[in-house]
């Protein structure tokens, strides 16, 4: 969990102007509202309310989510990446989401609308969403969950050289999974009687996820789109392999853009197996170019739910949170 950030000494609030001073009564009300949250959540909330510094927001949001997650699932949140899904991974239903929202609204003194709520699927979505609200930035596109059919349809790579089974793409990065089946052609010779996933292929898999980000997550100029056939590898730095990966392992891949300036996009990337580090790449750089936007590959906007409905896939795409309306 992110630690509460201390305000720099002497700095008068450089952040969004605070509506009113934070009184001892406010603090008492805040303490009461957060009485079932961790002490660090309360501390972060106090700091936010005193300074308006958005850096405290993630700690508050995670602390509030944690309070509403069943105790046996809370460990997932402890070392969660932003791709942790609210429904599938944390068992949060739409009513619990309402509880979370109401407490967050109360604690951070903000208002969240029902339609804004519907697009929040992951812990990362929630953190980004609240951060944008606080900073007054435009709200990001919600995370898209892409089943294999969609990935296959948009990617220039194809089997047997496509190393993503599922992926999710948001404006802040992409996450994916690949299961090493043991049937990969190169494992016959790498190595003799000892199939080990080549590090170069793992790097390739991260590169593919970065390609998917460019195609599905990056914001192009109006009327333009990143051309699938314009993307190529240019270089990488700081590659370290920490763990052998073998048939049966499920690789959890993530990339985050560090710099994007036509024609180069630089990402940081990581692969884990469960909680174990497998590969870290400090920088992986691709070239790309814009082309005229044509009809997208799929008829509909690539939102996860319709894609999943078409393909019959259910495991990797969860329906958006819906407000209970069964009264």
């Amino acid at each position: 969990m992110p630690e509460a950030v201390q305000p720099s000494p002497g700095a008068s609030s450089p952040f969004v102007a605070l509506a009113k001073p934070f009184t001892p009564e406010d603090e008492a009300a805040l303490r009461e509202a957060l009485k079932r949250c961790s002490p660090s959540t309360f501390e972060a909330a106090v700091q936010f309310r005193k300074t308006g510094n958005p850096e405290h927001v993630p700690a508050v949001v995670i602390g509030v989510i944690e309070r509403y997650v069943e105790p046996d699932l809370r460990t997932k949140l402890k070392d969660a990446d932003d791709d942790l899904r609210l429904i599938d991974d944390l068992g949060i239903d739409s009513l619990t989401m309402m509880e979370i929202v109401i407490l967050v609204e109360d604690v951070l003194q903000m208002t969240i609308n029902n339609d804004e709520l519907r697009s929040l699927r992951t812990v990362g979505d929630v953190k980004t969403f609240i951060d944008c609200k606080i900073r007054g930035l435009p709200l990001p596109k919600p995370t898209k969950f892409l089943p294999i059919e969609h990935i296959g349809a948009v990617m220039p790579m194809q089997p047997p050289f496509l190393f993503l089974n599922e992926a999710s793409v948001s404006s802040t990065g992409a996450n994916g999974k690949y299961k090493i089946t043991g049937q990969e052609f190169f494992l016959q010779g790498h190595f003799k009687d000892n199939p080990v996933m080549p590090a170069s292929i793992m790097l390739e898999a991260l590169g593919q996820l970065a390609v998917l980000y460019l195609l599905e997550g990056a914001v192009a100029e109006p009327g333009k789109a990143v051309g699938a056939n314009t993307i190529f590898f240019t270089g990488c730095e700081g590659v370290r392999a920490h763990r052998m990966c073998k048939p049966g392992d499920i690789l959890t891949l993530s990339v985050k853009p560090k710099r994007m300036k036509m024609p180069l996009a630089t990402f940081e990337g990581a692969i884990r197996v469960g909680q174990e580090k497998a590969v870290i790449v400090e920088e992986i750089t691709l070239t790309y170019a814009f082309v005229e936007a044509v009809n997208p590959v799929t008829a509909e906007p690539a939102s996860a739910a319709p894609a999943a409905a078409r393909s019959g896939a259910t495991a990797q795409s969860s329906p958006p949170l819906r407000v209970a309306a069964n009264a």
């Binding site: 079932r36 069943e70 009513l95 619990t96 509880e99 609204e105 109360d106 208002t111 209970a324 009264a327």
Partner: protein, 419 residues
């Protein structure tokens, strides 16, 4: 027509939280009254409540509540419950175990649930106050389902995955008697094989104290004297909360499962006074018609009834009108049934009363005793001519009549027979 039997009981009451302790209290005429802390203020004229023990639901925040560890309840379930929802959830678990029902017996298309409570004025108050203070969009998403009338059925049907019929009943102090009557009909008509019948009330200050304005609450501060139905010195009822669950099953289901019933439900009837919104008819006219109707529908002659568990709540007018109705339905003095009001021990459970007292009767019929009427030192002369045993009789009634009356003069009478 199918026969219907009571095969399982769950109790969270002022006189015990399981059938064994309830039976002991009934046999020994031990009451469940205490000086209720929230009432010990100068502005509260009434002091005594039939308190629910082992539970603490004083806070409006359900995560502050405590209840016996033998009932595991997840937060996900707890968050939409009122205090009486918690009581009822525990009583359901108890009744399911008591009837030896497996999960498939509970959740299927042929098993339904009828429930009755007055809702939770306590939580309604809390949520409305929050709405006023914090704004409409900061209301708890569970404010409605945890507090309005119907909260019991919403919650229990969802928590126990009930798939058959479900309905809430709201006829004030006759509510859960109605719930049992219509459950009987569903089984008799073959619509359902099994029904859970649930009555429950918060029994806290918000639920009870508003009755003080009607001048119907006892102002006695001695817990042993406050509730004394049929006594000349009675001065009003004592409130109570809790929950009772009855499992009612068709004869076929009893045979299939090899269940040992507490008693059979022989039939029921209802009639209304059409007289006053809050005062019972002075001659008990609606109650008289309901008693006669229940006897007729069950094919039972008045002289066959051994015991009447009276509605008698210890109010001045109500007890007398019931006594008049009883004298009229059982005119032959020699064969008059024993009449007692177990509200002398529990207090008046409002929507809970009918189901809870049918549960007491079921227990008495299987265990072999007839509860006496406690706390009487001198019978009200207006109630003379009725056989009111002051001590428990160590034999079981073969046929029991259960009277219930609610606001508006709604009268429900159920007949139970030895299984």
């Amino acid at each position: 027509m199918h026969r219907a039997f009571i095969t399982g009981l769950g109790f969270v009451t002022s006189i015990g939280n399981d059938p064994v302790s309830v039976e002991r209290s009934l046999r020994e005429l031990r009451h469940g009254f205490e000086l209720y802390p929230p009432f010990q203020k100068p502005d509260s004229p009434c002091k005594v409540v039939g308190t629910v023990k082992e539970f603490n639901t004083d806070s409006a925040d359900c995560e502050d509540w405590t209840w016996p560890a033998r009932y595991p309840i997840k937060r996900e379930t707890l968050r939409t419950l009122s205090p009486h929802g918690l009581f009822a959830h525990c009583a359901m678990l108890q009744a399911i175990a008591d009837a030896r029902l497996d999960p498939a017996d509970v959740s299927n298309l042929r098993t339904g649930l009828n429930a009755a409570s007055g809702g939770s004025p306590f939580l309604t108050h809390h949520h409305h106050e929050r709405m006023q203070k914090m704004g409409v969009m900061r209301c708890s998403p569970f404010g409605i389902v945890s507090s309005i009338v119907g909260t019991l059925n919403f919650n229990l049907v969802a928590a126990f995955r009930i798939q058959g019929s479900s309905c809430g009943f709201s006829s004030a102090c006759a509510s859960s008697a109605h719930a049992l009557g219509f459950a009987f009909d569903d089984i008799a008509l073959g619509r359902q094989d099994r029904m859970f019948v649930v009555g429950a009330e918060d029994g806290n200050a918000d639920a009870i104290l508003p009755f003080a304005g009607m001048r119907t609450l006892s102002l006695q501060s001695d817990p042993a004297l406050a509730s004394r139905p049929f006594d000349a010195a009675r001065d009003g009822f004592v409130g109570t909360g809790g929950a009772c669950v009855l499992v009612v099953e068709s004869g076929d289901e009893v045979a299939r499962r090899g269940a040992v019933p507490y008693c059979e439900v022989l039939g029921w009837a209802q009639a209304s006074d059409g007289y006053n919104v809050a005062i019972s008819h002075p001659d008990g006219s609606g109650l008289r018609v309901a008693m006669a109707g229940a006897l007729k529908r069950a094919g039972v002659a008045p002289e066959e009834v051994d015991y009447v568990n009276a509605h008698a709540t210890s109010t001045l007018i109500g007890d007398v009108s019931e006594a008049r109705a009883l004298r009229s339905v059982f005119p032959a003095a020699a064969t008059r049934p024993a009449v007692s009001s177990t509200k002398a021990l529990t207090g008046h459970g409002l929507s809970l009363a009918g189901a809870m007292e049918c549960g007491f009767c079921a227990l008495a019929m299987r265990s072999g005793f007839t509860p006496g009427s406690a706390h009487i030192s001198r019978v009200d002369p207006e109630c003379e001519g009725i056989h009111i045993p002051r001590q428990t009789i160590p034999t079981a009634p073969a046929v029991t009549m259960k009277n219930s009356s609610g606001f508006g003069g709604a009268n429900v009478v159920l007949l139970l027979g030895k299984a």
